[in-house]
Symmetry: C2
Subunit: 713 residues, 2 copies
């Protein structure tokens, strides 16, 4: 029987080193450790710190005004797990083979077994247990040695190994090279080494330290004793000194275990009939939790803290794919993630001006420090929808928490400034069909179509952004309205514009249209495209892709998931069928959305199929590039497909609703969510969906279309 809180080498797609490093990476929202081999060095090994980046100018073949100026690249820091092991005669154990690996999702402990070899084929066994503190930035490292054919003395030195430079790559999904780091090493005591790393151009500093629990960092041990050496590693807060290390392995492990107990209390999932799937979902949520910045000034990178792919940047993925999980299970953490967006609002105001919009704010498409770092605006800055995505997340957070303090402090200002942007960015046009408010030269979520007019998703989301600003203006403290110079007339204008925003519709197919000209284009020649030519972006010029009807990911369908009251089932079915056949799912963000919409349509075979690909994406390496880091958005997407998909969870007009659709393969699905200071347990079997109130006051909800009031037993 599968332990649903444990992952081993047998559960994953391959033993390829970089892939294994990603899958078994450990983190605490601030620091991330890849599960790299502790005695070998590689370009992919290293420690990552959320938001610790270096900048360098973006070089354009042909530059233009208003382009993003600087790359922001997350820095690969020295590997805290590295260790130097040699025999009494100085033969170094440089070669290593991974024998076993077990990640305990309930405690956060990672146990790995390696067979180490010298050049003279002297062999020993190393068992390394790693655990990351969740309320501190200390990590516990336990190295246990056993003889194989070498039985003598060992000299073990804990080091802070330097990192190899990354190689440059044309694959936009990989990370870039950072070479401008300064290292200052301090031997604090025989037991402790610190290294302070400063970046040359972003002017940031961080300190890493390692501490031996024995007498010194270098120790000589006898293999016959099956010796165990404990070390503590630690990472400072950015631009702050490293505090004294206070934990030992046991206290760090206890801290970790306690943290995960709390997480699972709200996040545990049971799928009766598929333990392996439950395990995959637990893994997904484990990694999602590890990746999320908890300090209000960091966010969740596209690859989390599991790799340097996408340069450690934060995208719209956080709000649209990952934040719902946190809003519904750990609203305090969701607030911190939204606080990050508030912290970069000044940069977003500047960016709006740079894009020719005098009022409001435009959030950067990809960023760490709030400034735009997208070097290809057609699939970057042109994705203006990020503004509305962030506003949508604020709306969901308010629906679920009713956190007025957040609204007054930050939330309203975010929604207001993004709404102001839309009002100025769009334009009115008189048409035979009436007066329309439109948006030109934008790119929607589907990056296989760029620079189009009236992208349905963008327009629908902008409409929501403006309506939300109007709604929240009624809820927010009037003093905030005065501080932000919000007049009644402005709020009314938001409502009017929202009403007038044009939503393209294709008459021929009787479905919402991805954009004004999407259906004019010829369909991509799928039948003559070899399988090896996917993902298309790695095989065709953007112009070739753009001039065809082909989608990388859900776009209009994504809007349908977000606004379940918009479209009736008949039209939705037509839409789903049409878009599904022209979508390649080359983006990891696609399948979870198709699964949700398929659930709503009771297309349960398809919903199940898309869900399985989503739930196990990195564990089966579906996208083929998990070695660069996990697909964080998809991890969140798997939770969405479960809750919003199979359980039909939505908030409509301030009321929580559920509609059950259970795949035939399962007998029961159980999960928990928090909602307005309550804890709910949702249980779906093949007959019905039931909601049990575990904590909090009675609540009126809608289940399968019927209004019910639930109370604690």
């Amino acid at each position: 029987m599968t332990n649903t809180y444990q992952l081993t080498l047998a559960d994953i797609a391959s033993q390829e080193a970089a892939y294994v490093e990603t899958i078994f990476s450990l983190a605490n929202g601030h620091l991330g450790l890849r599960a790299s081999d502790p005695v070998m060095t590689s370009a992919t090994a290293g420690t990552i710190v959320n938001g610790f980046y270096e900048t360098r100018p973006i070089v354009y073949g042909e530059a233009a005004v208003g382009y993003a100026k600087n790359h922001q690249t997350i820095v690969n820091l020295p590997d805290l797990r590295h260790i130097h092991v040699q025999t009494a005669t100085g033969d170094v154990f440089r070669a290593s083979e991974r024998q076993a690996t077990t990640l305990n999702l309930a405690t956060g402990q990672l146990t790995e077994q390696f067979e180490l070899r010298t050049a003279a084929d002297q062999r020993i066994r190393l068992t390394l247990t790693s655990v990351v503190g969740q309320t501190t930035n200390e990590i516990g490292l336990r190295y246990q040695f056993e003889a194989i054919n070498y039985t003598g003395q060992l000299q073990v030195t804990k080091t802070l190994a330097a990192i190899d430079g990354d190689e440059a790559s044309d694959d936009p999904r990989k990370a870039r090279q950072v070479t401008s780091l300064n290292f200052a090493t301090a031997q604090v005591s025989p037991r402790q080494t610190n290294v302070t790393i400063t970046t040359q151009t972003s002017h940031k500093a961080i300190t890493l330290g390692v501490l031996a629990m024995g007498e010194a960092l270098t120790q000589t041990i006898e293999l016959a004793d099956k010796p165990v050496l404990d070390y503590i590693g630690a990472v400072s807060v950015i631009d702050q000194p490293l505090p004294a290390m206070v934990g030992d392995f046991a206290t760090i492990a206890a801290d970790s275990a306690q943290y995960w107990r709390k997480v699972w209390a709200n996040s545990a999932i049971t799928i009766e009939g598929d333990d392996q799937l439950t395990q995959a979902l637990h893994y997904n949520l484990f990694q999602l939790n590890q990746a999320a910045g908890r300090d209000g000034v960091t966010n969740i990178a596209a690859k989390g803290l599991s790799g340097t792919g996408y340069e450690g940047h934060y995208f719209w993925d956080t709000e649209m794919y990952m934040l719902p999980y946190f809003i519904y299970t750990q609203p305090e953490l969701a607030r911190q993630l939204l606080a990050y967006r508030y912290s970069i609002l000044p940069q977003a105001r500047k960016r709006a001006k740079a894009l020719g919009v005098a009022q409001g704010a435009l959030f950067a498409w990809r960023t760490i420090n709030g400034e735009e770092a997208s070097a290809y605006y057609p699939a970057g800055t042109a994705q203006y929808h990020i503004n509305a995505d962030i506003a949508y997340a604020v709306g969901t957070y308010m629906d679920v928490t009713d956190d007025r303090d957040f609204l007054n402090q930050m939330g309203f200002e975010i929604v207001l400034e993004t709404a102001r942007f839309w009002a100025q960015f769009g334009s009115y046009r008189e048409t035979q069909a009436g007066r329309r408010f439109e948006f030109f030269d934008v790119t929607g979520p589907d990056e296989y179509t760029a620079i189009v007019n009236n992208n349905y998703y963008t327009n629908r989301m902008a409409k929501h952004n403006l309506m939300l600003a109007q709604q929240l203006a009624r809820l927010v403290d009037p003093a905030v309205l005065r501080r932000l110079n919000v007049l009644d007339s402005e709020v009314q204008a938001f409502g009017q514009i929202a009403d007038d925003i044009y939503l393209p519709y294709n008459q021929e197919h009787q479905i919402n249209a991805q954009d004004d000209s999407f259906f004019d284009k010829p369909v991509w020649p799928f039948e003559s495209t070899p399988k090896s030519h996917y993902p298309l972006l790695l095989h065709y010029h953007p112009l070739t892709i753009y001039r065809h009807q082909v989608a990388k990911q859900a776009d209009t369908i994504l809007a349908e998931y977000l606004f379940p009251a918009d479209t009736d089932q008949d039209q939705l079915l037509r839409e789903y069928r049409y878009y599904e056949q022209i979508t390649t799912h080359d983006s990891s963000l696609s399948r979870s959305v198709f699964s949700m919409v398929a659930s709503r349509l009771n297309q349960m075979d398809a919903a199940y199929h898309f869900f399985m690909d989503t739930a196990q994406m990195d564990l089966v390496d579906l996208q083929g590039n998990a070695a660069d880091g996990l697909h964080l958005a998809n991890l969140g997407g798997s939770w969405l497909a479960l809750t919003t998909g199979f359980a039909g969870m939505h908030i409509v007009n301030g009321q929580l609703q559920f509609t059950g659709h259970l795949p035939a393969a399962w007998s029961k699905l159980t999960f928990r969510v928090r909602y307005q200071n309550r804890l709910l347990q949702v249980e779906i079997d093949q007959q019905q969906l039931a909601v049990v109130l575990l904590e909090g006051d009675a609540l009126t909800i809608t289940i399968d279309g019927e209004i019910q009031t639930i109370r604690q037993a």
Copy 2:
């Protein structure tokens, strides 16, 4: 009275050094000399050789498949005019002030007077006369010295000065830095130094040489004698050794004078009533002639050989703005320029494949060696129209020359391969209005609108390209058809597709529409745009420009000029008025086209106004950046506005036609053209347009709508 074959400092906009260097640059289609100060060094001084470039990888902030791989950058070579002058005591004349400059357009001689100064304020006068061989690559340099307050001995050394590195710039219209040059200097004799320059990555070599007509390159002279020192400079053919220098100043000057006599025999213009304008036009044609590559493997760079702007690249400008002048006055040279396109057809075939089109050829948007060098595809590769532009030029060349040898050797293959591209690149769509052939995600000539569907200019030109292929298939040697695997069915398909190509029309304004969505967009806020914010491209993000109705240059109007039979006068007037008010003319390619269309509409004030800006563009520095090099396309445009504009010269259904429209300011306009082995003189006064046959057989033409047969007197 103005000498219409002479230009002096009094005739130009400013005395700013880099600007003067451009205006008075000398060239012979192969080598170009900027009129830089001969004793000072500057980043803008130097010798340019047509087609001598270095490559380096294009760095993209975010790269993608099929992007242009390498920059091709014209190389700034040592300044052949540089000289080192010092007093007997070693005081070097490093400072210099230009006193007078005269360019003789009839002989090609440039005479410049400088006052040279040492740090100790010793002053002398230098008169430098430069002349470039037109049938050799030798240049004559005559340095004459006179005392001012220094009267003693001078030591003069002819050098091949190294060039300062250019500075990098964000302005896409400037040149880039080339640092990877190897210099090998050979002291051939006391009289001669050669320097061979090889590029590190494009693997090209060129040799420059200087030869003293006296005993040695270094000579000591007495100022009291008003001494004259002659030197010869020479430039090899690319990748060939430098031949022995055979000319002296007089023979090179004679060669130059003879060449220009021949040019003016066909190119002389008389505008009675405005000698200054006649002078400007002569200057324009002089520079156009200097810039044109004559060897069949080079072309005309956007800045000619007058500067390194636009990296010395060849664009569509050659065919659409410059080639008509050569076709109608020097068809042999026009053939050589088209031969260059034929020479890069293999690269164009590869490029088509890289853009997802299996058959045919796609010419690079900007190139020297035939490979795409545009690092920004929305205003580069997406301008597919270059294919049809080149085909159009072949068509004009055939109309004017009926050169069957060219057709069989090269011309048909160019037109065929470009037609094949269009047939595969476009796609059929069933609409309520019938079956249409369409082109998606293209950019027209107007670079303030990019990545649009059904750009009128592109579609109309593609239609012409396909029809031309069909027509020329009837004319070409059948053996050529067999060699190129042309079946009747393919030729018929070309005709069908040409018929079916969709040409967008705007019902509201009753005019041809620049593209499918051009009129949906809000008009650019011209009234709130300060004058200092033009050109817009240097002040606004591309996305901001693209989402508005605003044109950098003629686009639909350009198609109207090219196809005079397409549109009646009423519609044309509406179109002209509409597009004129939303065009900024930020491109130097715009005004000449508006002038031509205004002439056709008998809007003679406007035609005259646009023409004057065109004719004097660089002499008044209208665009403000002539320092980087001349606007070659506009030089050709001024000839077009005169001939096709004021004289209404067109070939319609194989017949040459003229329609006279003379601006009120002039009493008479006279110019000459060659047409099918004839030489015609066109004379327009306020009463009528007359065509005199100077050479060749009788010819039937249309003048002001009446068919006439003209015979030699």
